[in-house]
């Protein structure tokens, strides 16, 4: 029988440990771990070049922001491992723009005012880019590189875009669609700037190639009921549905379209932002035959891209993949092009780097190398058309060399 007089026993070892751990935890929470600053490993002779990454790690666009931040970290670590840039290491400062433009401005302000970064990469949605660009470029006098596919027409000086533009997504894609789908197009879209501008461009290309636009409709992004539209599509013999509705509405739309028998009757579904991450939004059979046109797919199977994928997978797992639709490829491109520009300019100051970046090129990247089109601050790159078969992408066409962005000429 144990004599268990608790009042006279000193604190048991486990209880002490618990208290220690709790106070340590509280202390850490109070002081914080400061996890946003990624310092270069090792000992360096010179002080670091500061790279600011401002992207949506939380909020509705976190599916894009997290891969962006992960790719950035991977590339920056690679650069540091091979000796840094101009003999200096790169220090990555990551800020969460939280899919909230009000909060984002403060974060970006911190990057340019307090951390005094030498360059900012980031923003995914156009509304985010528009909210933060003034603080970075005008007020902060810092270089800004935007990595995501978008509607074009961003011609602000010192703002470089490394994602595909409407021209790149439509010029080769639409002729393929007409050949492999038909001439009658329908454009169901989400109601915001990107679909409107993309549709305007697409319409021109469609008509130029002998096609016809039967209808163009705009919905709020969370719109759930598409029966009216599906009805119109089925009854007017539409061959190609060039879709720009986005999640969450797109799931309902694709399902309702599929249930009405669109694919069964030979219709072709097209959606230019659909990448590997998006394949999970609907069951595979609902998007069978869906065609997309992006600057990279894993199915491209080029050795450089495969190597990048392997490394990314090793570091970050497979929850959020390295894809073109999330801007991760644009982020890779952007950082490497900037690196090339800094090497050429032999400086990190905005003026010389921007001048060098204006015509920078890299010979390797996911989907191949790419090059800035001088005077436009946009990148010409290879474009790939892929079709979803059984829930996986198959490349059906590769562009004949890099496609021009057609912006800010």
């Amino acid at each position: 029988m144990k004599n268990d007089d608790r009042s006279s026993r000193p604190l048991s070892a486990s209880r002490r440990r618990f208290l220690q751990r709790t106070s340590l935890l509280t202390g850490t929470i109070a002081l914080g771990g400061g996890s946003y600053l990624y310092n270069p490993k090792g000992v360096w002779a010179a002080d670091p070049i500061k790279v600011g990454i401002a992207t949506d790690l939380t909020g509705a666009i976190s599916w894009g922001g997290i891969p962006n931040s992960q790719v950035a970290k991977m590339v920056i670590d690679q650069i540091n491992q091979s000796g840094g840039l101009l003999g200096r290491p790169l220090q990555m400062i990551l800020e969460d723009t939280a899919t909230n433009e009000q909060l984002a401005v403060t974060k970006v302000r911190k990057l340019v005012t307090q951390d005094k970064v030498d360059v900012v990469f980031g923003g995914i949605t156009s509304s985010m880019r528009n909210a933060i660009k003034d603080t970075i470029v005008n007020r902060g006098k810092t270089l800004y590189i935007y990595p995501q596919l978008y509607e074009g027409k961003e011609c602000t000086p010192y703002l470089f875009c490394t994602g595909p533009t409407p021209a790149q997504q439509c010029d080769t894609f639409i002729p393929w669609l007409i050949k492999n789908g038909g001439k009658k197009f329908y454009l169901p879209s989400a109601d915001y700037v990107w679909p409107h501008t993309l549709n305007a461009y697409a319409r021109n290309v469609i008509v130029k190639n002998g096609g016809e636009v039967i209808g163009e409709e705009y919905f709020p992004v969370d719109h759930n009921e598409y029966s009216a539209t599906v009805n119109k599509i089925m009854s007017s013999g539409v061959n190609v549905v060039f879709n720009t509705t986005i999640p969450p509405g797109v799931a309902a739309f694709f399902k309702q379209l599929n249930e009405a028998g669109f694919q069964k009757k030979g219709g072709r579904l097209a959606c230019v932002y659909y990448d590997e991450n998006a394949l999970g939004i609907t069951p595979a059979h609902e998007i069978e035959g869906l065609a997309s046109c992006l600057d990279y797919f894993k199915a491209v199977n080029d050795p450089f891209g495969n190597q990048l994928q392997a490394e990314y997978g090793k570091l970050f797992g497979d929850k959020l993949l390295f894809t073109a639709g999330s801007g991760a490829t644009g982020m890779y491109r952007g950082i490497k092009l900037w690196e090339a520009a800094v090497k050429e300019a032999k400086s990190v100051k905005r003026e010389p780097v921007a001048a060098a970046l204006d015509h920078a090129k890299i010979s390797d990247g996911p989907g191949g190398g790419c090059e800035m089109v001088p005077g436009t601050r946009h990148v010409k790159m290879n474009m790939f058309t892929a079709v979803s078969k059984g829930g996986k992408y198959e490349i059906v066409e590769k562009s004949n060399g890099p496609v021009m962005p057609g912006e800010c000429a």
Partner: protein, 347 residues
């Protein structure tokens, strides 16, 4: 189940904490730019502007009992209108734009008041809340879809405000301008709530029908207060747009409106200083949490807010200030009887 009021404390001399708090905050704010780096100056400027917005909510809810979930509507509309004036008409003078912002706030709030608050029948608190929330929601959806005002992107790259030929850049200049406006409005509201009108407001907050029976035109009073709050929110909105350099539908949204309600409830309703403190604390907490826990911070923020709401529903001010002082008393000092009468519970 009402909150306890220390009636027993009425016999002791009343130690007022709030004036000291106000002075301390004012003093610190005046000298801060000398010590803090640029970033914190900018951060605080934004806090002052949001604090101004929070004051507008404290005015309508804490003093007039109107639960308006639509303050961001006036804030955002003023921002949009001044942004349009600045970009389309090339007018950037602060002497034109800030009054314009206030005017927009006034007009929109009067329209919303007519629809939601005024009328023959007294609307329920819930109806006012939902009606104003709907107003904010509807206008945000419309702004998102209207390409003239930029749709989802809003109006980016706004020019700076000017005073004559001098640009009011964000930084020290803007800081003192925002602080000046905040202090100015604060003083006006302080005066207002201690005046006869303030007494009527306290009465409306407590028991609207009774005040009507006393002969006060309650609808007029409510309309005036709501309009005043609209002007204040509009002023804040105009400053915010030019400080941040852009205006977007997020500045009109129910999310911001709800955030404002949180600021005030967190800080302490009906104390004016509570609104400003609440805005500052929540903004600071959001920022620091987001720095430390980059992917999980919204969860922590939600939990933290919940914990504070659960254990301190009277807000942060409740930590420093006795409930008697927070609720307020009217009447001449030293006069025990009137002080008792006015010692009632806030809604």
């Amino acid at each position: 189940m009402s909150q306890s009021t220390d009636l027993s404390a009425s016999s002791l001399p009343l130690r007022k904490v709030i004036p000291w708090l106000e002075l301390a905050i004012l003093g610190a704010s005046l000298i801060l730019p000398a010590f803090a780096d640029d970033f914190w100056t900018l951060f605080l400027t934004r806090v002052f502007i949001l604090g101004l917005l929070a004051l507008s909510f404290d005015l309508v809810w804490g003093y007039a009992g109107i639960l308006s979930f639509g303050q961001a509507l006036f804030f955002g509309m003023a921002g949009y209108c001044t942004a349009l004036i600045a970009t389309k008409l090339d007018i950037t003078s602060v002497l034109v734009l800030l009054p314009a912002a206030g005017l927009v706030g006034l007009i929109v709030s009067l329209i919303l008041a007519f629809i939601v608050i005024l009328g023959r029948r007294v609307p329920t608190t819930v109806f006012v809340a939902l009606g104003t929330l709907t107003g904010s929601y509807v206008v945000e959806r419309l702004a998102r879809g209207w390409s003239y005002v930029g749709g989802q992107n809003g109006i980016p790259s706004l020019p700076r405000l000017t005073l004559g030929s001098h640009e009011i850049a964000e930084g020290v200049w803007f800081y003192y301008m925002a602080l000046g406006m905040l202090v100015g409005v604060y003083v006006v509201l302080k005066f207002l709530t201690r005046s006869q009108l303030g007494l009527v407001l306290a009465g409306i907050r407590q028991h609207e029908t009774r005040i009507t029976f006393f002969g006060y035109r309650v609808q007029h009073v409510k309309g005036i207060i709501f309009a005043l709050a609209g002007i204040i929110a509009g002023l804040a909105g105009g400053m915010y747009a030019f400080h941040e350099g852009y205006v977007g539908p997020g500045q009109l949204s129910p999310v911001l409106s709800t955030q404002v309600v949180l600021y005030v409830l967190f800080g302490g309703v009906g104390t004016l200083i509570g609104a400003v403190v609440g805005a500052g604390v929540i903004e600071y907490l959001s920022f620091m949490l987001s720095e430390q826990y980059q992917r999980l911070w919204p969860i922590f923020l939600g939990l933290l807010l919940l914990v504070i709401i659960m254990f301190r529903p009277t807000g942060l001010i409740g930590f420093l200030v006795s409930s008697r002082e927070r609720i307020g008393s009217f009447g001449r000092p030293g006069d025990a009887a009137p002080a008792h009468e006015a010692d009632k519970n806030p809604p």
